[in-house]
Symmetry: C2
Subunit: 268 residues, 2 copies
């Protein structure tokens, strides 16, 4: 039996496309329906309550469109709303935090793990709760990273200076494993590895999340097994042309036509 | 100073595109010149001497085209010819084995590391030499994997049965870290993680190699820093249309026009 329903993936912007792409790599036969909340990007500096409201609207929109699985491809959304999303959705929900934390706990030898993310992600302490007593966690907010990545900059002197400043506490505390707790950050892993040094293991939440999606679909016997090509659709609550351009510039992804998503709450 | 020369990446087929893509992610401003040896694909089952001859021809072709760095994006080529390639090239040469081994040695806690690859890669014992006394290495050849990936199959029952069979020795020996020693294998990481279990760290040579390329270009002060978009070119010694189709089907990559590469040795 082929389960032809798409996988729903959502984020505040284009960052979650790193997760979508990781899913396509592991599951090239699956269709993905992607929604970015461009109208409200970036989520990082917003209050948790506001992020929750926006995210619930998009999750409901995707469930109404018949997705078989919801992927919360954004740390800021997950720390703000994953419980509410899972309670409201009648399909499995996969986030980015648990897969990343699990990978970090299996990779650390010293028991001192770092996490870097947006201000919203770090401030909620969600990684601290997810790690629990499994390791000592050192968290650092890296507010300028997303902006640099979205300008296509992964190498400038300004970015490298910011990275050195952000990462200094991790180095001081002796982390041997660092979770990239923002879907934009895998695009900085060259820089991060260079700054952190060759002995640090970098964990990509995007890659780990894609593996969890694979395992979940196998477990639920919900793989798509059809001979025709999968169909991917992309929508944003913001400017479709800006989304298309960013996806191409930042990720080299040709996303084709991008729809304008109208989320119930916007209309309310 | 902007170094506008492209990075040269080569492989027996399209598998090395996983490395090229990882490089684009970390260095979106760099141009890549890619050559696949489609006329002689697959390298896996071929004698080392033959692989060396083909690979030297392509490396010389790329150097003649003015690349600033050569990436040997194929384990079979690296085990057969990296020394000769580095001796003949007047630009830095980055392979896939050292980055993957380094990442595995920093991730292992038990000191028992696995490596999976094609028959050529495993049979030469190159991973054994690279790991040295740093860990106990358990190697397994996975001859059917490339074929499945190139059919776009990452989930079938036949593939999963093959994976269970190939990976049994790694499980038996208690590996806690596994190097994906073939550029096609990152596309199987959902399956591999599921089969190996959640406690095993999977190392992607493609991702680790891209980080080494980043570090090498920073070190050599050879980054491209131009305002215009980078230019990627793709060529194969085989059928350009087959290359284009595989790149799109297997990796979802739109590579545009693919040239037919004529390698000196072919003409000889």
């Amino acid at each position: 039996m082929s389960d032809d329903r798409p996988i729903g993936v959502f984020d505040s912007g284009v960052g979650g496309l790193t997760v979508a792409r990781a899913i396509w790599e592991l599951l090239p036969n699956e269709s993905v329906t992607y929604v970015g909340d461009g109208a409200h990007f970036p989520y990082g500096p917003r209050p948790v309550e506001e992020i929750r409201r926006f995210a619930m609207g998009i999750a409901e929109h995707l469930v109404a469109r018949g997705v078989k699985l919801l992927v919360v491809a954004c740390n800021s959304i997950e720390v703000s709303a994953i419980g509410d999303i899972a309670a409201a959705a009648d399909v499995p929900v996969v986030g980015v935090i648990a897969p990343g934390v699990r990978a970090a706990l299996r990779a650390t030898r010293s028991g001192v793990v770092g996490v870097i993310g947006t201000e919203a992600t770090i401030r909620t302490g969600s990684y601290q709760r997810a790690v629990g007593s499994g390791a000592t966690l050192v968290a650092a907010a890296c507010p300028l990273f997303v902006e640099h990545v979205e300008r296509g900059d992964t190498t400038s002197a300004a970015l490298r200076a910011a990275a050195a400043r952000y990462l200094a506490p991790l180095d001081r505390e002796g982390v041997d494993t660092v979770i990239m707790g923002c879907t934009h950050y895998p695009l900085l892993s060259g820089l991060l590895q260079l700054e952190l040094g060759p002995d640090v293991v970098l964990v990509s939440s995007a890659d780990e999340t894609a593996k969890d999606v694979y395992a979940e679909l196998v477990r639920a016997d919900a793989l798509r097994d059809a001979p025709d090509a999968p169909v991917h659709t992309f929508a944003t609550t913001g400017d479709p042309e800006a989304f298309r351009r960013l996806a191409e510039q930042v990720l080299g992804l040709e996303v084709g036509d991008v729809d304008r998503a109208v989320i119930a709450e916007d209309a309310a």
